[in-house]
């Protein structure tokens, strides 16, 4: 019960601090930009293809027109979702960093924790509220993008539910780790540490990607995995991006064999699904962060 009181209070705080309003306005702008961009690019490309076909030109480079359009849509959707996950990730980090330590620093927590409220309940309340807000944010934003692609281009991702689910997991990982930091570090130090961790995880993803470029570099791929273990956020995003790929694309890709035109990867996405072990780690990670946060916060003198 007390955790829910804290959660309700946290949502009120987000409203009062204009966080919800600012977040909503910026997100609407982002979605609008995507809608306009996607529509214009898709139409332009479509028209160009129709013209080519009318002039009797054959399919260029082994791709017929429809496949080319599909490849373009896929890249645009992945790029758009990449933007969403980036915004959501930063939002998750900021909310987590601002969740506990500023209240300790200002002294506002003294009166609250002198109530019959355990530290566990306080942290759970904070986490639940912020996780709820972030989940709504990710679902609405990624849903809007996927819907746009579907309406404009008839685009069907491989598994929309997994895309959104993994993107939510990613942002919960970032929220949990920065909330943990917020119980042990001062606000500014935590912010710096979290941004560095986030940057490292991103870099780890790129290194891992480079490692998979044929002929492949095992050392780099392993290095990428090792960094992902430190903070599996980017790995989870890559897992999500795999499910953005349409089924037909995956079938074509597997038949194309190595070196075919469809064998493309993008540095910010993945054409292979997430390893089950990494997924298990990614699910356990936020739980472990929260458990550590509770243990650390219980011992902390205010």
């Amino acid at each position: 019960m007390s955790a829910l009181v804290v959660a309700r209070w946290t949502v009120l705080e987000a409203r009062r601090r204009r966080l919800l309003l600012a977040g909503a306005l910026l997100s609407v702008a982002f979605v609008a930009l995507f809608v306009v961009g996607f529509y214009l690019l898709y139409r332009t490309q479509q028209r160009a293809l129709l013209q080519e076909q009318a002039q009797g030109a054959g399919p260029a480079g082994g791709l017929d027109g429809r496949e080319e359009l599909l490849a373009m849509s896929t890249i645009l959707v992945i790029l758009g979702l990449y933007g969403v996950q980036f915004l959501a990730a930063l939002l998750g980090l900021f909310l987590g960093v601002a969740s506990v330590s500023p209240e300790i620093d200002s002294g506002a927590l003294h009166a609250v924790l002198a109530r019959p409220l355990s530290r566990l309940q306080y942290l759970m309340g904070r986490f639940l509220a912020l996780a709820g807000l972030l989940t709504v944010y990710v679902v609405v934003m990624s849903g809007a993008l996927l819907l746009t692609a579907r309406v404009v281009a008839g685009y069907q991702p491989g598994d929309a539910l997994r895309v959104v689910g993994l993107m939510v997991l990613q942002v919960l990982i970032l929220l949990a780790v920065s909330l943990l930091g917020s119980t042990v570090l001062p606000t500014l130090a935590n912010g710096v540490v979290m941004l560095i961790l986030f940057g490292l995880a991103w870099l780890g993803g790129i290194i891992g990607f480079v490692g998979t470029i044929p002929p492949g570099n095992e050392l780099m791929a392993n290095l990428g995995t090792a960094v992902s273990l430190l903070l599996p956020a980017d790995a989870v995003w890559r897992g999500a991006s795999y499910h953005v790929l349409p089924p037909s694309f995956l079938v074509a890709s597997s038949f194309a064999g190595g070196g075919g035109d469809l064998e493309f990867g993008v540095p910010f996405g993945s054409v292979t699904p997430m390893a089950p072990a990494m997924l298990a780690w990614a699910v356990a990670y936020p739980v472990a962060c929260l458990a550590l946060a509770v243990a650390a916060f219980r011992r902390r003198d205010l």
């Binding site: 009181v5 002294g107 002198a114 109530r115 019959p116 409220l117 205010l302």
Partner: protein
């Protein structure tokens, strides 16, 4: 004057039944690394008592109070609030608290803050709706509850803090420097409030470095300095433990001082006024007779009760020098 913790305990227990004390600590200690904020604090506050915890800034008063609220974990010793360790949330159910710096979430309005705390304290909706306006009125914030805390002055914020502390009608109220931001009128209002609480049977644990505040409302005090209790007991005992006589004669000479020295210890000589520390006031009539028969003209012979301030300065000074 009892200067040790054990006599303090003995005086506290005497005359009170087997009731569970509102606050009981034994050997409580807190160290932050090498710095010891609190040494071996042992005290007992009975239900219904107004207890003053008195000491200069940095003496360990706030640390002790935070331990009693479960905000700080002691390094050693034991603390119980109504018989339960304060780390348990249930132990804090009957406790109200005004923090030293009375900082609250500034984005909220006073009413929202009270509502939030009311929910945390387990108050129902109807109870909150009735109690919140009543309390705002009581602490002098009537009509200001809808404003954001950010816009409150320091004094208003402290009044809001008092309302938060009293919100759920607690049995024990811990006030950490409750008048630090208030003007003289506000201070008087807080004194009245504390007396009202005492009349209603509420236990009050008051941290203060303001002697007048403590003198005016407390039944019992403990004086702390550098993390140790240097004196404690009922206020009257503390203040009356050493009695002084002020002697006003026509002249002060060596013979007079020698004569006075037979009855007590000369504490001060100011002009023709001599302050004499005596064991009992009963020496006064004989002293007067002797002074007159020795040829002195006696203008005054007045018993002086030492103020809490004198005791405080003496004790704290001793500790600092020692």
């Amino acid at each position: 004057m009892s200067r040790t913790a054990s006599t303090e305990q003995a005086t506290a227990v005497a005359g009170t039944g087997s009731e569970v004390p509102a606050i009981a600590t034994s050997g409580l200690r807190k160290a932050y690394g090498a710095r010891v904020a609190l040494h071996d604090l042992t005290l007992r506050v009975q239900p219904g008592e107004v207890f003053g915890f008195l000491g200069p800034n940095g003496a360990g008063k706030t640390t002790a109070m935070k331990i009693l609220l479960g905000l700080v974990r002691p390094s050693g010793g034991e603390a119980l609030v109504f018989g339960r360790p304060p780390g348990e949330p249930a132990a804090r159910r009957r406790v109200g608290y005004l923090p030293e710096h009375f900082r609250f979430q500034e984005w909220a309005t006073g009413e929202e803050l009270l509502d939030f705390h009311g929910r945390l304290a387990g108050m129902g909706a109807a109870e909150r709706a009735e109690r919140i306006p009543e309390l705002l009125e009581r602490v002098g914030l009537a009509g200001r509850g809808g404003e954001r805390v950010r816009r409150y002055s320091k004094g208003m914020t402290q009044r809001l803090g008092l309302a938060l502390a009293l919100l759920h009608r607690p049995d024990l109220v811990m006030l950490d420097e409750p008048t630090s931001a208030l003007d003289p009128v506000g201070r008087r209002e807080v004194r009245e409030l504390v007396r009202e609480l005492a009349d209603a049977g509420v236990t009050v644990f008051l941290n203060s470095h303001l002697l007048t505040e403590v003198e005016a409302v407390c039944d019992r005090v403990a004086i702390v300095s550098q993390g140790r209790v240097v004196a404690s007991g009922p206020l009257d005992d503390l203040a009356g433990a050493v009695t002084q006589l002020r002697v006003l004669a026509d002249r002060v000479d060596r013979q007079l001082l020698a004569l006075l020295g037979r009855y007590g210890e000369v504490a001060r000589v100011e002009g023709t006024a001599v302050t004499l520390a005596v064991g009992t006031l009963d020496v006064a009539p004989e002293l007067a007779r002797l002074l007159v028969t020795s040829g002195y003209r006696l203008y005054g012979l007045v018993p002086v009760q030492r103020s809490l301030e004198d005791i405080f300065v003496d004790l704290v000074g001793e500790v600092r020098e020692g």
